[in-house]
Amino acid sequence: MSENCAARLTVNGSPEDFLGDPRRSLLDFLRLDLKLTGTKKGCDHGQCGACTVLVNGQRINSCLSLAVMHDGDEITTIEGLGPASALSELQRAFVTHDGFQCGYCTPGQICSAKAMLDELAAGWPSAVTKDLTSGPIPSDEELSERMSGNLCRCGAYPNIIDAIRAVMQAEEPA
């Protein structure tokens, strides 16, 4: 376990070299090596979703993935969506709708929501999709089901749905 491994990743648009312990998770690479602590460690076992990041546009639990597995991948973290001084629409909506309290699950919720909206737009079904041929209708139940991999102990779930809904409505063609 002492032999170092190498990988080159793109993180929030910047090339980053990983050289280190093959046991290092993508999550710990982001937090400890790149100091991108916006991605949170809630359970380290893929059970809570606090560590959700986008890999080539798709959401994953970064704690369940090793850094060395991501050679050539494009990673987007909460820091890549927008800083406090220039929030993205989704981040702004989470503030407006109080889609968080303690804030610890929040970066994961937002990254997850971003990818979820793309999945919905691409017509991916979920466990509650009634009709697989005509594609999902973005009901509250669809949104809740698709956001259920991201736990929030403060119980901000209804506000999280409100925030996502607000962004969906803003993006709808007039």
Partner: protein, 737 residues
Amino acid sequence: MLTTYDTPDQRNLLDRTGQGIIGAPLDRPDGPLKVAGQAPYAAEYDLVGCAEGVLVGAAISKGSIAAIHRDEVLAMPGVLLVLSDKAMLRRPAQGGAAQAPAQDVRQIDYHGQPVALVVAETFEQATAAAKALRIDYDDQSGSGRFDPDALDFAPGEEPTVLGDIDEAMSKAAHRVDETYRTEGHASAAMEPHAAIAQWDGDDLTLWGSLQMVAPNVKELADSLRIPDARVRIVAPYVGGGFGSKLGISHEGVAAALAALELQRPVRVTLSRQQVFETVNRRSETRQRVRLGADAGGRLLALGHEAWISNLPAEDFAEPVTQATQFLYGGDNRYLAVLKGEITRLTAGSVRAPGEAVGMQVLESVMDELAHKIGIDPIELRKRNLPARLPGQDLPYSSRKLFEAMDEGGAAFGWSKRKPKPCMTRDGEWWVGMGMASAARVNMMQPASAQVRLEADGRVIVETDQTDIGTGSYAILGQIAGEMLGCPMDRVEVRLGDSRFPAGAGSGGSWAASSTGSAVFRACESIRIELAGRLRIDSEALELSGGIARGAGKEAPVTRLLAGAPLERIGRIKPGKTADNYAQASYGAFFCEAGVNAFTGEVRVRRMLGAFGFGRVLNAKTARSQCLGGMVWGIGGALSEELQFDPRDGRLMNHDLAEYHIPVNRDVPPIEVLLLEERDAAASPIQAKGAGELGICGTGGAIANAIFNACGVRPRHFPITPDKLLAQLPDPFAEIAS
């Protein structure tokens, strides 16, 4: 100004200060940093040379360490240190302890207890070494007590005895005498407990995830046998607490000891499994409730007895009957909490200790009584609200329970509830409605805060008060801005640093009313000074938008300051108002639930909570607190259950895959009504506790909706399908009408 709060402040000053931001649903000022991932939590400070520590848990339930094979892991790559000593904590501190909890990890009190810390250059090296560490035990697990039903129980406090409950029960026209069970709960805050410790000579700085900084300093200093003044704790952002971070726990002391030994910073983060296994649990409860009513539905007898557990030598006993003391009448009363010693991890405060499980059960039994009598559950409650506190003859400070039931019921559509079970079916689902009262005792705690009005008119608030998601940043800023006539973007709130004056800490729903009152008093002192400079009476002073006005005079605040800041410390502590009034926050829950006629699965379909907790300081963050409480109520009612191995007391479901907190799809649309109220006895800002009220009775409303849906009376929480299935009515039967 007196520090103690002895006379109710009826002036309602915040209603006429003029800025107009108090109570407004403003966004959290900490929001942008949190949604951008830029708010640093305990483990996220970047210290040069920081080593990584991982704790090791005991593989036995009781006994001591015979040998610890340090050398084997010290030979592993990167390993720097193996600690297992008498200063390390084997239990977390209880809330407000302000002294060291049980120390010396060479003794083992429960399965999974920390017994050693392994420190290495990297997290991976420390984790591998912690796993590899071999420990020989003197195993005394055989003498442990593992069955919560077979303990030696003794009352923690004197039982409350009024009249003769047995005689009253025997004479009652209607009576219910039932025993309920609730299983243990975990706080399960999303941020695992974490600490980074760094020494500078004799001075320790600890970045921690903690709820109550001032007592935490004392706990840490006492554990390390150093003066309080040598300890600084920094905790500006805390990823949830719910009681689990009231006192310090193992990670902080271990990090401090290792950092001292290695003379470099050390970070220790509990794994999710360690959070479950070693931090406070809420005790399981067995509760017997006796209600006896006359023919008119008025209570003659009220009995509530609870059997709970904790480790030996722990004083904390889940105060199950806390709200039963004051909520309903009944001249003949018997209330008692009996504690038994068990070999399980420490029991302590988990969100709304007492009421969370006590109200859940009391409100279920009230529903049983209403059903027996054949009256509406709201009507039964209304007939039993006492005029004065039973047994102590004290007035209630303010109680919006009637209003909550009426306004909540109207908004929810309670009149559409069917009076009998099994009258509504929606496909596979039996559908019913239930309600419950909400009640949570109100407490003020000593608090202080510093407010500085800068020469340029900006306002800075500083206190060690934490914001664990509760909204302290927002509401303390709003109080200061309202009092000093300053818009929110010119107010800065700095929290969670032991260098600031000691706030009340985040616990017991007291932060807003206690630390908020300290901020209020600091501001009031500044207002008096400004009024003097304007040469008017302070009562006539109006401050808004940076302008001071009154008695026909007017001046910009900056001119009154004349280039120099004004700085005051406000202080408050509970006084005679706490003794002279029965104080609590109240509300009512309404729930519509579906029970699957074939599987027994329960889905909450919609909920409403109406709450009165005095002045609302920020309608947005207050609503979120209520929402969150009700989400906890769903978890406690339907899924949350700590499961212990009956052979050795080991916590079997020690992670978020096996301990089921509600997920997004478990939570239906929830409506929150905030009732207009001013409670002058509670605080000079007329505010009471809000943070825990939302969980205090929710589970009862859900259980009552289940009964109304399918006719099965659940008496064992959480109400999992197995507990309903055997008693469910024939799913193909005709619907009653």
